[in-house]
Amino acid sequence: MADLPLAMLAELTHRCPLACPYCSNPQELTGRDAELSTAQWADIFRQAADLGVLQLHLSGGEPASRRDLLELVTAAREAGLYTNLITSGIGLTPARLEALDAAGLDHIQLSVQGVRAELADRIGGYAGGFDRKMHVADHIARLGFPLTLNAVMHRENLDDLPATLDMALRLGARRIEIACVQFQGWALANRAALQPSRDQVARAKELVRAASARLKGQLVIDFVPPDYYSDFPKACMNGWGSTGLNIAPDGTVLPCHAAQTIPHLTFENATARPLAEIWHDSAAFNAYRGTDWLPELCQSCDRRDVDFGGCRCQAMAVLGDPGAPDPVCRKSPGRAVLDDLLSQETVDIAPPDFVYRR
């Protein structure tokens, strides 16, 4: 019997006013016509709570692009879920924030594209977005919402790390995620423009180490390193089908947000089959669950139960083989491919321009 999921990410919509070049949503977005209704989401939230989910992350796209966001938060709290809103802030008026407060929204995770308007608006592809976000942040603070800043870091803004930490303190955040871009979804189209240099990464790690000690008890810093520079892979999703699941805007149930890049898998829909059955019995969730499926290199490795062979979607994206060891691993034959990509894409010349979705 598989473990039960603790967390569910609900991608309420793929619509978003921003166009970040590192967007983790798939290259092909789901249109508004295919999005689930309020009642369908509420039913999925109840099923998730019955299955063992404790935390719900409402995400997108931009979840505030859903006109029924308030009803969805209300439904999530009624289902007993700890409810987190992952947002760019665009579309969250003071009145909407007050209503979300009254509905019991537990926590807000606000993305930041940069600490300066010029850079942030260029990254987000949305003029005036930075100023609007700062107004939203003020209202979030005024209402007393617990706040996490979600700072996605890359070649163009990793050197702004100290100012990014200062921003978190200034906005009253309790927590900051310094999340270096992971190359899935649209981010793959911009890998060369976004990949930081080895020196940038080394400086960032040292800064994070010092800041974590200095700000202990004041600001919790969670650092997601750029994994192409790591020696061993991340324990992606803490193991496939072990602790989390993801619902796409049309109700497709995924083991992780990038799983649809794996061509041989077929995914079921929460409107057609009970969520518990999909979690326990569907072919997609069982494809890479546990460690029995791992290749010999991983089976005999002392890190087998630490990283579970790493990220399936990364093996797919870099090697074209979702069953291979994550190419980040120094022990894997795929590492040479990753090293070639790194040396081609981080040469000391001007990076290519961003490719935006529109």
Partner: protein, 92 residues
Amino acid sequence: MTPEDIPVLPRGVRCGDDRVRGLRVLLGPERVLMLDQIGDAVLRRVNGTDTIRTISEDLARTFCAPRAQVEADVIEYLADLAEKRMVERANG
């Protein structure tokens, strides 16, 4: 954290029943902590009014344990949660 401090769960952090697994849990931003009997007993007494000393005296009576030892354990437990910003001091 000292015996005179008054611990409180900040907004966005709450205890609850995990009815599926039959456990008590502490929920916060991106954090789920499964509580054992001791953790649950401590956090049930964290009400934003009582000091760590009062909480520890109550626990010592309830579990027939030496007060000084209980107090040291409670401080260690709550200080660890405070580092994760899952507990604050109501007395600033």
